[in-house]
């Protein structure tokens, strides 16, 4: 119970834990999709407090982790060879590419900048009309409105020196890929609260029906997570498969229609390669052809041969919930947050980094 003091409301937590211990009679395997939830589960020590019957496996919901090696190599190439101002979220610049990360490129003199928001990159483009500015636009549905807005702002300002290198992934196809993979044997899902804040619930009902799998849209605080897990376990114990919304104080059934309008103006659905997992059909967003001038891929016609991944890294199996980070031979040895071999050790939302920082001794 050593983490309990960190909770905002230990009593509520205690209550849900008691409920869970009462309700869970058989072994169940539940996947949380969102890396933010993985981070919260591990950081708050919840995995150690759950009844033994409940196994949480960690899903692929870390955009930094699933951005393909090839795209990182492209970003490094743009920064080093094309002399662009390469802007990125902080996490992304430490992810190893095939020869180096963006951070290493920066140390070698490339102009790589860490930003909080893609909208800041548009301002940089405005201030530097003589330079090309590229934003490395990674993310799930939650981040897509911001990345799309940056393109719309740039177009409105008439900028010809701004583009995005898009690596946008979608949750529902990834859930189906994980289910169909079979090896992880997922019996229920916690769906990602902030993704649904944008997209609403509509897309998930068909998955619940098709695979007869319970799904609970869940927030990321300890109390949210425990409640989400409890709702899922109750369904499982009753043999039900429903879509429920634990996070209704934030998530509306129809999501945020304004945000989706912006996404539709800029992006179209495309096949997408997920690092460690492979190609998933119709699982990403690409900049529309009509906005090709804002698409770094088309604008710079970059073509870089695909390099192979580090042979020891089992990130793909970790991201699909088949293996836990500590089952990797490199975990905590060759691979640490300072010397990451794979992306899940870099991002704070990556499962390997979460286990390394908070739970190494307890969970392993």
């Amino acid at each position: 119970m050593k983490y309990l003091s960190e909770f905002r409301d230990p009593e509520v937590v205690e209550h849900y834990l008691e409920e869970l211990h009462k309700v869970a009679t058989r072994p169940w395997t539940i996947m949380e999709i969102c890396g933010g939830q993985t981070h919260s589960l591990v950081k708050n020590g919840l995995l150690n407090l759950l009844p033994k019957q409940i196994t949480m496996v960690h899903g692929p919901g870390c955009p930094v982790c699933v951005t393909p090696l090839n795209l990182i190599d492209k970003a490094v190439y743009l920064a080093e060879e094309k002399g662009v101002i390469l802007c990125s979220f902080g996490d992304m610049i430490r992810v190893p590419g095939s020869s180096r990360s963006l951070l290493e490129a920066k140390a070698n003199g490339a102009d790589v900048r860490i930003l909080y928001s893609p909208l800041e990159a548009v301002k940089i483009a405005q201030e530097h009309p003589e330079r090309q500015v590229v934003f490395f636009a990674v993310g799930f549905e939650t981040t897509a409105p911001a990345n799309a807005l940056s393109v719309l702002h740039a177009r409105r300002l008439g900028l010809t020196n701004y583009s995005i290198l898009a690596s946008h992934v979608l949750v529902p196809p990834a859930m189906e890929a994980v289910i169909n993979d079979g090896e992880a044997q997922i019996q229920g899902f916690l769906a990602a609260g902030h993704v649904c804040t944008i997209m609403g619930l509509e897309e998930y009902e068909p998955i619940v029906q098709k695979y007869h799998i319970p799904m609970v849209v869940t927030g990321f605080e300890p109390v949210d997570l425990l409640q989400g897990i409890l709702m899922t376990v109750k369904q499982l114990e009753n043999g039900e498969a429903k879509l429920e919304n634990q996070y209704s104080r934030v998530v509306k059934a129809n999501g945020n229609p304004e945000a989706r309008k912006v996404i539709e103006q800029v992006f179209e659905v495309s096949d997408r390669e997920w690092r460690g997992i492979g190609n998933i059909p119709l699982s990403g967003w690409e900049v529309k052809a009509s906005l090709a001038d804002f698409d770094a891929n088309r604008k710079f016609a970059i073509s870089i041969a695909k390099a192979s991944e580090c042979a020891d890294c089992i990130a793909g199996q970790v991201l699909k919930g088949i293996k836990k980070p500590f089952e990797c031979s490199q975990f905590g040895k060759g691979c640490t947050p300072i010397t990451p071999l794979g992306a899940p050790m870099v991002s704070s939302e990556g499962a390997c980094a979460a286990y390394y920082h908070f739970a190494e001794a307890d969970v392993a």
């Binding site: 993310g139 804040t197 934030v250 304004e258």
Partner: protein
């Protein structure tokens, strides 16, 4: 990077030649700029959930306060503070 943080709208102004509603949003002691294009109904004093510089929903004050306290407690706000210092380019 997927974190969305609740903050209070301090002021609203139009940018990009008067076409885009932007707000100064207070997160504890930190003020950051956020686009309000996804929350057309948001007004001064409202609490909004902000993700990478874009407000994605309006939340009630109580909810915002609880979430913010939680994030502060577990140190996630530090990330916001760190990222609020724009990384300056290499000397040109």
């Amino acid at each position: 990077m997927c974190l969305a943080i609740p903050g209070k709208i301090k002021s609203i102004e139009f940018q990009y030649d008067g076409t885009v509603r932007m707000a100064k949003v207070l997160f504890g002691g930190i003020t950051k700029e956020a686009s309000l294009e996804m929350v057309p109904d948001a007004k001064e004093g409202d609490y909004v959930l902000v993700h990478v510089g874009v407000a994605i929903s309006i939340v009630d004050e109580e909810e915002a306060r609880k979430t913010f306290e939680y994030l502060e407690e577990i140190g996630e706000i530090d990330e916001l503070v760190a990222s609020s210092q724009l990384d300056r380019p290499n000397p040109l």
